[in-house]
Symmetry: C2
Subunit: 696 residues, 2 copies
């Protein structure tokens, strides 16, 4: 049994702080439970000595309850929470739900009190929701443990969409919008301050909850990245769509988030990547989230493929929908010749293409619409067929026979989805939804919902794999100089140029001859960071004489410009030309661990942020996907007729770097390889900077 089972499905509940006044928080909570007709035992607790509250026998303490209690819901003011939780633990509850606010969100003192609650629960093996939670709803079992006024007048409809959210306000808003449009809900939970239970764990629960078919979630922050990844992957494996909103996305939003929660909003780009890699989708708005959830619950699955067919009764809307399909990366394969012939036979005036424009002629043909839809479903490989039917659904009586025919088509073509776009009545919609056909009024929203679901399906073809436990590795140290950093890269299996710090000009000439001319000479001193500025780098030295002069020049320049510097000598390394500059990086995210960054093309990285990010560890496939995301990768592939560079060497370097980063995740802060020069054969790291966590 999942450890959150007593949270979502308690058999009995004590309301600590229950009130007789159904408008006060503790009374409202009880009132909602009673009105919902929760079938488990309900025990109101109030220190006032009342023996009856809202018609139920009341107790002064949870310890006075005769039977056993699964869950205690705490709504007493903050100073009374600690003893309420202590008594609940003593009573043997399996879970406490703390709705009271005034804890970590209020500053250090509140955080201390919260930590104490957390420790008490942990030591007793009791799970805690909150504090500062808006509670939860289990629509099937009619367990409504919340005081949200959203329940005044907005009764939930039972269904298969569940929602886990940190912010109670977000939960209320989504609940209200979903309920007003008639979406069926299963479980809603607000995790609040997340002292114990967090959104990730709720997703984990919902991934195995048989009543939940679609998971919606909303985060402002995340304290355990690996748990979130694992939960998202579990939901993906269970075939459940996951729609996760993270607020604090932009600079203004992140500023707003940090004001109100005290928790950092985190690196938003990393969240984005993690959601993608773990097969989830990030909607842009609550309405979009609900649209996608609706789409997936009605079709009962993610789209079979990325190919769509569109049928309309007139051109303009078809073009609009095709525009959106283009934006969303969907494909619109042409009608097959057979389909063209069948369409022409049925409707001579139709535009037999994709979009298929039936023209007004269709209205003169019995069953013209379903017959045209059948042509599109029978031919070609459209995973999803959209039919724009204007306002047909507003006349349910006239539309009923079409619905019957569509029901037959759904059975006949079970591997394809059908979506209707039209103005409609609740009556028509209900019938259509029952046979697996979503209905949208706005063509754009229909397309966006389907596109999101298709994107999710696509992501699930190439999911992130959680790494196993990592073998212990030797510690990194002494990474502060260019030479040391490159030695680390060499250790990681990346290519660096042969180089040597030479203390005499003879040694420099000898080493240059060994590696072959031309060479580069650089002053080597831990005390000189900005070599170029003092003329400390000399390029393209063609022979022994040039190397000798360069050595003497560099030493005397250093003595002249930085007289205090302790000189190690002169570094000699081959002069390389040509190739494409790339950058590779590692950033160890405090939440999500090592992230690998890739970019190409020098200026493009800074000017266009033409870089992409992926979680370590990378597989070859995921490394290739990372490289594909960068537009400047075109420069590697034979730009303007030049020879292609060695892309496989880039993939290889990324995989080795990612492996190294995983092995040293405890110690590493970041690695910047800039540039790695990719040549026709091989790729070589010309410079690197490594930072350890200890350095910060």
């Amino acid at each position: 049994m999942h450890s959150l089972q007593p949270v979502f499905v308690p058999q009995s509940v004590a309301i600590i702080g229950a009130s007789s006044d159904p408008d006060r928080i503790g009374g409202r909570l009880l009132r909602f439970l009673l009105e919902a007709k929760f079938e488990g035992a309900i025990y109101p607790i109030n220190k006032s000595g009342a023996t009856e509250i809202q018609g139920l026998p009341a107790y002064g303490s949870v310890l006075d309850i005769p039977g056993s209690v699964d869950q205690a819901v705490v709504v007493v003011p903050a100073p009374g929470v600690e003893s309420a939780v202590r008594e609940s633990i003593a009573k043997g509850v399996r879970c406490v739900v703390v709705l009271t606010s005034g804890f970590a969100e209020m500053g250090d003192e509140g955080r201390e009190a919260q930590d104490k609650l957390k420790a008490m629960c942990r030591d007793a093996g009791v799970r805690m929701l909150g504090p500062n939670s808006l509670g939860l709803l289990n629509v099937e079992t009619r367990y409504f443990a919340t005081f949200s006024t959203a329940l005044y007048g907005l009764q939930p409809r039972s269904g298969s969409i569940s929602l886990a959210t940190q912010s109670g306000a977000f939960g209320s808003c989504a609940y209200g919008m979903a309920t007003l449009r008639g979406l069926g809900l299963s479980k809603i939970i607000a995790t609040g301050n997340e002292a114990d239970i967090d959104v990730a764990e709720c997703i984990d629960y919902l991934a195995e909850d048989p009543e939940t078919k679609v998971i919606c979630a909303a985060l402002e922050s995340c304290r355990d990245g690996q748990r979130l990844r694992a939960a998202l992957l579990k939901a993906a494996a269970a075939g459940k769509p996951v729609l996760v909103m993270k607020v604090g996305r932009t600079e203004l939003g992140a500023a707003a988030a940090s004001t109100h929660t005290g928790s950092l909003a985190g690196n938003d780009a990393v969240f984005d990547v993690v959601f993608q890699e773990c097969g989830a989708y990030r909607p842009n708005s609550i309405e979009e989230m609900l649209d996608i959830a609706y789409y997936c619950t009605v079709t009962g699955r993610l789209p079979p493929n990325q190919a769509i067919g569109i049928i309309t009764g007139s051109g303009g809307i078809g073009v609009l929908m095709a525009d959106h399909a283009g934006d969303l990366g969907l494909s619109m394969p042409a009608l097959t010749p057979d389909a063209v012939a069948a369409s022409k036979a049925l409707l001579p005036f139709a535009v037999a293409a994709n979009p298929l424009d039936m023209t007004a002629q269709v209205t003169s043909l019995p069953d013209g619409v379903p017959r045209t839809i059948e042509i599109m479903m029978a031919h070609g490989d459209y995973g999803t067929v959209f039919a724009y039917l204007a306002h047909s659904g507003l006349a349910p009586a006239r539309f009923a026979s079409t619905i019957d025919r569509l029901a037959e088509l759904r059975i006949q073509y079970p591997h394809q989805d059908l979506v209707l776009v039209m103005l409609s009545s609740p009556e028509s919609n209900e019938k259509l939804e029952a046979i697996g056909i979503p209905v949208f009024a706005d063509p754009t929203r229909a397309m966006v919902a389907m596109g999101a679901a298709a994107r999710m399906a696509d992501r699930r073809n190439n999911l992130y794999t959680l790494p196993g436990t990592q073998a212990k590795v030797s510690a990194l140290k002494d990474v502060g100089t260019e030479v040391a950093a490159k030695n680390v890269l060499k250790m990681a299996g990346l290519s660096v140029l042969p180089e040597q710090v030479c203390s005499t000009s003879e040694a420099a000439v000898k080493f240059a001859a060994e590696i072959g001319f031309p060479v580069v000479a650089k002053i080597a001193s831990a005390d000189i960071l900005h070599k170029t500025e003092m003329g400390g780098v000399l390029l393209n030295l063609q022979d022994a004489a040039a190397v000798k002069i360069a050595f003497d020049t560099l030493i005397s320049r250093a003595q002249l410009h930085v007289p205090t510097a302790r000189l190690d000598g002169v570094l000699i390394t081959p002069m390389v030309k040509g190739g494409v500059e790339t950058i590779l990086g590692v950033q160890v995210d405090p939440t999500f661990g090592p992230m690998i960054l890739y970019g190409a093309g020098g200026t493009a990285v800074e000017l266009f942020r033409d870089v992409a990010l992926a979680s370590a560890p990378l597989t070859t496939l995921r490394a290739q996907a990372l490289v594909n995301q960068v537009r400047s990768t075109a420069l590697l592939r034979g730009w303007r007729g030049s020879q292609p560079a060695d892309e496989s060497a880039v993939i290889d370097a990324l995989c080795r770097l990612s492996e190294f980063a995983m092995a040293h995740a405890d110690q590493l802060q970041s690695i910047d390889i800039n540039p790695m020069l990719v040549q026709q054969k091989g790729a070589v790291c010309l410079d690197a900077v490594i930072t350890l966590q200890a350095d910060l």
Copy 2:
């Protein structure tokens, strides 16, 4: 009087093809007019000899009508249209509305028939809507001249939003969606094949129509760019928001558009620029268009500035809204110290910031919400204040006193707008809208609508100016060679390098000495286009000897590799180094005339399409705005510590190029200057290609 007045506001109408069967097209049209209680005279015309149709006296021909007729609506089958139009003209109507299809949209034969109708009307001075139009609605005068089945059961509410659309399907869809959500409409017109009246002219009419406050439009193509610009600018000058959708935006969409209309979808990016320059906004969906229209009709204006304040009862939604504000380029100035103090005094637990989180504490304070809103309106310079109030609007009775207080605030702070985001009831909404407060359920949609209106307001600070008539200029000819093209640029006032085609090595050396070493030598021949490939360019020639050798080398290479080429000699020009590469271009759009293109940074142009487009003629201000849009412009401004390049020389070159393009718009097809090298002082065009329309 506007020439479309008889189209939108006829006093009397003849329905040519009227039918007694109210379900057939010609019957439905009449039925809708009768049901709408149009007060003007209605004359059904039918050749059948019926003397009465749907209760009205009927006639065999429009010529038999005793009184005068303003408008003839034609719904007879295509073969009968010509005589119907001829008779209508003979009767003296001022306008014919041809709803019949089967004209230009069906191919060449249909186009011929359509051209004939057009000529007949033009010669008689009669305006024509259509053919293949879905007709029009004037909601105030109850003139419903359409057979759209959207009118079954969906009766329009009178208001101030008007819609002009080419596609009837688009019009029906937008009409249905608007009416279902209760938006008030003024005029709706579908222009169909646009043989005479087009969407641009309808916008022109609506810009001066006193009942229209917001103009919505939808295009698939445009035949007269200058007319569209003029209409958009007229609406902007009248202070009316213009929301214009153009479909066929993406490759898939454009393919779909060309299938169904036969008219090319046109260069979508040019439309985008024209809409921006003329102060219109291009929504992404019909729903977004209606959201913005709703927003503007309720507030009665565009937002006073780009600064917003947000008030919420809890954090999560505030952060979401701040995210969107960031995306939309809005600003969220911090609360002033006075406002912080006032907020703390009112609600000690509130997060006194922007967003201002009132926390649940607000519920315990009488008028807490309006008092907090007042704090934000009274301090700082928030043009628009958003308040997120959860589901307050669902309880109209409890919310009534808040609405009263908000009405007072609207009067007290007339220069700011207030927007509520909450779940609500029609009753609460109506009251709020009446006092100028828009209400949205979804926080994202509220923010997107306001952001669009703010963008429109911003655009109207720097509008395009229509050019006056252009003085006749001398014709261009002979622009096929590099030298000729550069001579044209020189004529246009742009800088080019001194250069000379020298027919002897002596002349080459002499000219090189005059302009100063180092120089570049290029083979000069109209027969050799790809000079580089045959080694026809020699760089960095340092002295007379080098020039002499170069001359001989180039001539013999040319004789060897292209023996048939007619050689003009060798071109000598100074060798320039350094500076930032830019590209300048002109493209004469068949619809919108000369468009100016600017880009910088070589690779970035191709790889990132880092270019921007503007309509000619450019003012200095608009040229600067064009340059600002290009991200690689950063390279001009002292990239990575280098010296800044001469940006003013770029602006100057763009203005001169645009002026030249306007003067030669009749002849020019395109100009590509690539590169123009921008140096610390000045900018010089190194190469150019010019194409004339005659060359195509």
